[in-house]
């Protein structure tokens, strides 16, 4: 970019661009930026398939925005009309069923992809120096996604929509002193109602564009130091990298095709598999469904919330549950500083490696707990799994980083790759 000060667009003059593109790039380095970030971008030679999920998440975000914008043209954000307008989209609007099922299952896919992306970062230590802000921006995106997904879930105004909105907004009543006033402010009434639906629609339309902006910053931070890689060692020279295009564009396209196959099976054959049938009953403020469950991607947080059935140090169980549930994500912001090991990749960390793999199992256990009625063994399992989640990050992560002896790191990416015989 410094080259612009001498009057020439960066990297453009070397190419034989048509005059029009040279005219544009001299004023706005559009093609040159694309070239720099999508074509030349030097990428480690050894990225495995776990590195596909970043670009997949980006593509899914675009799918969600495109289907969402069109759905909003048919949807009516009014408590008396919302449910019927969604039914009309499914039954009467041309291809409305397709748009709605893509959007609804797309949310599940988006979370699946982002969770895999997140675990990849955790396992390979992608959050370590100098990529701490890149990681933090990713956690911000996750929080925005949860907010957007929750508000979107409320819009069809079925029983689950209504009671999800009630239970989640009531979490704020756990705040001492101002709790109930804050809840009334969120509702715009004495209960979840039409004002609530209207503001959720407004925010549900806004948040994805905020996510797009944060994704822009996420990419800017990524391209500052370049992608991490499975060995977790820095690239030393041109022998360690290849241009993004065509090597990783083709690999990302292949991954996209596999993903779209899975996605298509859901959309066309099992469109309601991942959601609760209760949401096809119109919202009824006088009757709570017997078993309230959030969408699968929020089950672990819900399980943590419900696991706190006891007061602790004078903190009421309700407040503590809310704090620990939200804290489970806030904790991720601190991961770059909680991990004391100088080695990035768990491949070279013989002890940590097993704990890094235990975390997804812990979250699956929490997910199971969140899906079950809270009684007996399920409550105990939830408490153990919640305790492990916090012990994992607050005790094991700093401790193992200090105590463990890592295996020797390869000299360079290219040396390691050649030694493997590829």
């Amino acid at each position: 970019m410094a080259a612009t000060s001498s009057g020439a667009p960066p990297s453009a003059p070397a190419r034989n661009y048509p005059r029009l593109i040279r005219w544009i790039d001299y004023r706005l380095p559009f093609v040159a930026s694309l070239e720099q970030h999508l074509i030349e971008y030097p990428t480690p030679i050894n990225l495995n398939y776990w590195w596909n999920f970043g670009s997949l998440a980006g593509i899914t975000l675009v799918i969600m925005i495109v289907t969402g914008v069109v759905l909003a043209m048919h949807y009516t954000p009014n408590a008396d009309l919302a449910f019927d307008s969604v039914e009309r989209i499914l039954r009467d609007v041309n291809y409305g069923w397709l748009l709605r099922y893509i959007h609804m299952n797309g949310a599940s896919m988006f979370f699946l992809i982002v969770y895999i992306h997140l675990f990849r970062g955790l396992y390979y230590g992608s959050y370590k120096y100098p990529r701490e802000l890149l990681w933090i921006l990713g956690v911000v995106i996750l929080l925005l996604m949860i907010a957007a997904a929750f508000m979107g879930y409320v819009l069809p105004w079925g029983q689950m929509s209504y009671w999800a909105a009630t239970v989640i907004t009531n979490l704020f009543s756990a705040i001492p002193v101002f709790g109930q006033d804050i809840v009334t402010l969120l509702w715009g009434g004495f209960t979840v109602g039409n004002p609530t639906l209207n503001r959720f629609f407004s925010l549900h339309y806004l948040l994805p564009f905020v996510i797009v902006a944060v994704v822009g910053l996420h990419l800017l931070a990524l391209h500052q130091h370049g992608s991490s890689n499975p060995l977790g060692i820095d690239k030393r020279g041109p022998q360690d990298t290849i241009p993004f295009h065509p090597y990783y564009t083709i690999k990302d396209m292949f991954g996209l095709c596999v993903f779209l196959l899975v996605f298509a099976i859901l959309v066309f054959y099992l469109p309601n598999m991942l959601s609760s049938a209760d949401n096809y009953i119109p919202a009824n403020p006088m009757v709570t469904p017997n078993h309230i469950v959030p969408e699968w991607y929020l089950l672990p947080y819900y399980a943590i919330l419900r696991s706190i059935t006891f007061d602790f140090l004078g903190i009421p169980s309700k407040l503590l549950g809310v704090v620990l549930s939200m804290g489970s994500i806030i904790l991720l912001f601190l991961v770059p500083w909680l991990d004391t090991s100088p080695v990035r990749s768990a491949r070279f960390r013989p002890v940590w490696r097993w704990f890094a793999l235990l975390l997804p199992l812990d979250l699956i256990a929490l997910g199971y707990v969140g899906s079950q009625p809270p009684a007996g063994f399920v409550v105990t399992l939830g408490q153990i799994a919640t305790a492990y989640y916090y012990i994992h990050f607050l005790i094991l992560m700093p401790l193992i980083g200090k105590l463990e002896t890592p295996r020797p790191l390869p000299v360079s990416i290219s040396a390691a790759v050649l030694a493997e015989g590829h």
Binding site: W163, T166, V167, T169, N170, L171, S173, T184, L185, L186, W187, G188, G189, F190, T191, G193, P195, R199, P285, M286, V287, T288, P289, N290, H291, I292, R306, T309, P316, S317, K318, G321, P374, A375
Partner: protein, 184 residues
């Protein structure tokens, strides 16, 4: 004119400090103004006047049999009205309130012992407890049972088990005649 006699350094210092002062006060006032300007946006999210206006409901109790429970909508929330039989009243009165999470005497929660009027919203996370319809699960204290997270209420709708911190709220109401109440 005496100012001219001062050294140039001092003049500069005076000008600088006056500029600092103006900058700080203008900045502070502007900041306060901007903070105040946020309030209309936040307050617009609070319940509007027409929402607040829908705040009282009248109920005729004459047709409600002893032992029957009635659900009424008030401010969009269910209100439970329980025409309590003598054994329910006795059970509610006989509790040692020092054992309760939210200690309250039954007599402080009612206007007439046979009529219990409470807001039917669980104080945990806002679900509607079961127990108001015949055949509903009522929990071990024969009052109400919240299906969401397992809170159990007694025949005075006081919290007895489970995660809810408080008793079911008693709404403001008055008897307008022997067999009619006005809630709100």
């Amino acid at each position: 004119m005496t100012d001219l006699a001062q050294s140039p350094v001092d003049t500069e210092h005076n000008g600088g400090s006056r500029r600092d002062f103006l900058l700080l006060t203008a900045g502070a006032l502007g900041g306060i103004g901007a903070a105040i300007a946020i309030w209309p946006f936040v307050d617009s999210l609070n319940p509007a006047r027409d929402t607040l206006a829908l705040s009282s409901t009248e109920v005729d109790l004459a047709p409600v049999q002893v032992g029957q429970r009635l659900t009424i909508a008030w401010r969009g929330k269910p209100v439970f009205i329980d025409h309590r039989p003598p054994e329910e009243i006795k059970a509610a009165q006989d509790v040692d309130i020092s054992t309760l999470r939210d200690p309250q005497k039954d007599s402080d929660r009612i206007k007439k012992p046979e009529w219990l009027v409470v807001v039917g919203v669980c104080t945990h996370l806002g679900c509607i407890p079961l127990g108001n319809k015949p055949g509903d699960e009522r929990g071990p204290y024969k009052g109400w049972f919240c299906p969401c997270h397992g809170s159990v209420y007694d025949t005075s709708a006081r919290i007895r088990q489970g995660p809810a911190p408080l008793n079911l709220a008693v709404p403001p109401y008055e008897f307008t005649s022997d067999t009619a109440i006005k809630i709100g």
